[in-house]
């Protein structure tokens, strides 16, 4: 049982990572690709936060009577990463909107044929 608890988080992370990857590969629709990309990124966030967790610890905010805190460093890193992720998503979505306007479609296999060389 402890073996499962020890690594369960990472297994789910790997599963989510691959799920996100598979969506990016299999989806034709660009919006769905972006969703896949987001799932992929979120899995990494979970990995980092799992690293920083200390069993029996509490949130890293100083309080009386608490001696064990979880590691604050991964939290900081992931705060940054989340913002980076949403920034990328915003630019990606803006590109999709423009692509729709220019090509009339956001299905990858459709606009592929509209230009001689995309």
């Amino acid at each position: 049982m402890s073996f499962i608890v020890d690594y369960y988080n990472y297994w789910i992370v790997v599963f989510l990572m691959m799920a996100g990857f598979y969506i990016v590969i299999s989806a034709n629709n660009l919006v769905k690709k972006v969703v896949g990309l987001n799932i992929f990124q979120t899995s990494v966030f979970i990995m980092y936060i799992s690293i920083g967790k200390v069993s029996g610890g509490s949130a890293p905010i100083l309080a009386d009577g608490i001696t064990s805190y979880s590691n604050p460093l991964p939290h900081v890193l992931i705060l940054t990463a989340i913002v980076v992720g949403v920034a990328t998503t915003a630019v990606g979505l803006a590109l999709i909107v423009r692509i729709k306007r220019a090509y009339g479609t956001v299905e990858e296999n459709e606009f592929k044929d509209k230009d001689a060389l995309i």
């Binding site: 990572m17 990016v24 660009l30 690709k33 990309l37 992929f40 990124q41 990494v44 990995m47 980092y48 690293i51 460093l73 991964p74 890193l77 940054t80 990463a81 980076v84 920034a87 990328t88 630019v91 990606g92 590109l95 999709i96 423009r98 692509i99 220019a102 090509y103 606009f111 230009d115 060389l117 995309i118």
Partner: protein, 500 residues
């Protein structure tokens, strides 16, 4: 007074410059300001390069927090060299951009262009100078986001799909690096590069660290467009505005090459990456396939910009080849090629941009008879093209020479032979353009609108061309810097060996 802060200034200057540029709101002012900022960064980078050649390494603790706890800027010869290339090319491109942007980008987006350019410069400088693995990821994302913007600014709709492809691949690459850094952190509890190196050396071989390395190497390989992960690059460079192509071709992928060098040599140590995991064989094979495949693909392109983009992927193959030889000489050849390639590709893309400026097309058909109509531009193209081929008295020859000798030093006869044969393909694709430019008659001889490019485009182009010749003859500066850098990079690995 500010001399001790120089390691951080090439990042902070453009980072402050970007919002100021945005506030300036007028195209002319923003251009002038961005060029000045970039030029000043260049000046600082040169000072840094000279200082590091003299003193070895400059460490700068941000916020006054000492390294493993705070973030450290760590400038040594290796990154000072690449930093000079990036800031120098950025300055020249900005000078060049003035007129090319006027024509290619909508007027009210000019400030956005200069802001994004400065952000991109700040990001690239940050990647180069930082001594912190996570900080590297942050700056990577700054430069990437700015780059997507820069690419998509072009008026062609294909630039949009190109930017989107780039965005997806770039995000996956950056996230891979993030995963790798996470795995390293998991095993070591630190993010500082030197600290990481010391702690990784304590492990013999470890699956988590190996997996992390795999993620990092693939992530960086996407960013540096290593074959077969290069397919985002050709459309992005083809459809981006000319100035952007010139800047990116010379810098973005080269900075990624530097990142790969950093991770391999400084953090994991060449011993660990190459001897225990046999990564050198994988890289070597990919590099050679990249050289041949992409050089060949370049020869069948009808769009000259695409052709140059594929040629860039092939040239990156040469750099990776140098790295994968696992010798100081090979690494030095790779670093030298980063420097020289920036000179030649920058000049080539500028020349192509000038042709695009006058003829409105980058197709090879537009080049018919251009030798007479745009003599200076085509002369620049010719000399830079000869440099790509590796003709003596050009910078390209110097790097090929060192690559070949590095391969020969290891008795890799076949590799040396392949490097030289690869150049033959370069002769073909450059030769195609020269042939139509000088030996074919223009399609429409009466068209008088096609004349020599404007002076503001010619000056930076020719500075690069002359630099190609200068660094092909007097190699003392470039070679000694690359040599010092490769020795410097190899040195920590040797130290780690002693610890183990």
């Amino acid at each position: 007074m500010f001399a001790q802060h120089f390691p951080v200034l090439p990042i902070v200057l453009p980072l402050i410059g970007a919002p100021v540029c945005m506030l300036l709101a007028r195209s002319q002012l923003a251009w002038l300001f961005a060029t000045l900022i970039s030029g000043f960064s260049f000046f600082i980078s040169i000072v840094l390069l000279l200082t590091t050649l003299d003193q070895g390494v400059l460490s700068y603790a941000l916020g006054g927090w000492e390294p493993p706890w705070g973030i450290e800027m760590r400038v040594d010869v290796a990154n000072a060299l690449v930093l000079s290339v990036v800031t120098g090319l950025s300055t020249l491109v900005l000078v060049y951009a003035k007129q090319s942007i006027d024509k290619e980008i909508d007027r009210n987006q000019h400030t956005l262009f200069y802001t994004a350019h400065l952000l991109c410069l700040a990001g690239l400088s940050g990647i180069l100078s930082t001594g912190d693995a996570f900080n590297l990821f942050v700056f990577l994302e700054i430069s990437s986001l700015a780059t997507y913007t820069l690419v998509s600014l072009a008026s062609d709709r294909r630039a949009l799909t190109a930017a989107f492809r780039y965005l997806v691949m770039g995000t996956i690459g950056a996230t891979f690096i993030l995963i790798g850094v996470g795995m390293m952190y998991m095993k070591t509890g630190t993010l500082n590069m030197l600290d990481l190196a010391a702690r990784i050396a304590e492990y013999d071989s470890n699956r988590t660290l190996n997996t992390g390395l795999a993620f990092i190497l693939i992530g960086v390989s996407i960013k540096l467009a290593l074959f077969p992960l290069h397919m985002w690059l050709p459309p992005a460079y083809t459809h981006a505005p000319s100035a952007v192509s010139a800047f990116l071709a010379g810098t973005a992928t080269k900075v990624a090459v530097y990142v790969m060098v950093r991770f391999i040599f400084t953090i994991y140590g060449a011993e660990y990456v190459f001897h225990e995991m046999g990564m050198d064989v994988i890289l070597l094979v990919l590099a050679i396939v990249a050289i041949f495949n992409c050089s060949f693909v370049a020869t069948v392109q009808s769009n000259v910009k695409t052709m140059l983009a594929y040629s860039s992927v092939a040239q990156i193959g040469y750099m990776i080849l140098g790295i994968s030889l696992v010798t100081s000489a090979g690494l030095m050849a790779g670093l030298l090629h980063i420097f020289n390639h920036a000179l030649m590709k920058g000049a080539l893309f500028m020349a192509v941009g000038a042709v695009l400026f006058r003829t409105g097309s980058a197709d090879i058909k537009a080049y018919y008879g251009l030798g007479k109509r745009m003599p200076l531009t085509m002369a620049a193209f010719t000399i830079a093209g000869l440099s790509i081929i590796g003709v003596p008295l050009t910078a390209g020859f110097v790097s090929k020479w060192y690559l070949v000798t590095a391969a020969l030093e290891q008795q890799h006869w076949l590799i040396a032979f392949l490097i030289l044969t690869g150049s033959l393909l370069a002769i073909v694709y450059i030769g195609r353009v020269l042939e139509v430019a000088y030996f074919k008659e223009p399609a429409d001889p009466t068209d008088t609108t096609i004349k020599e490019a404007p002076v503001l485009m010619l000056i930076p182009m020719w500075i690069l061309v002359l630099a190609n010749i200068y660094f092909g003859i007097d190699t003392s500066l470039s070679v000694s810097a690359a040599d010092a850098a490769s020795k410097w990079l190899f040195q920590p690995a040797a130290d780690l060996g002693a610890v183990r």
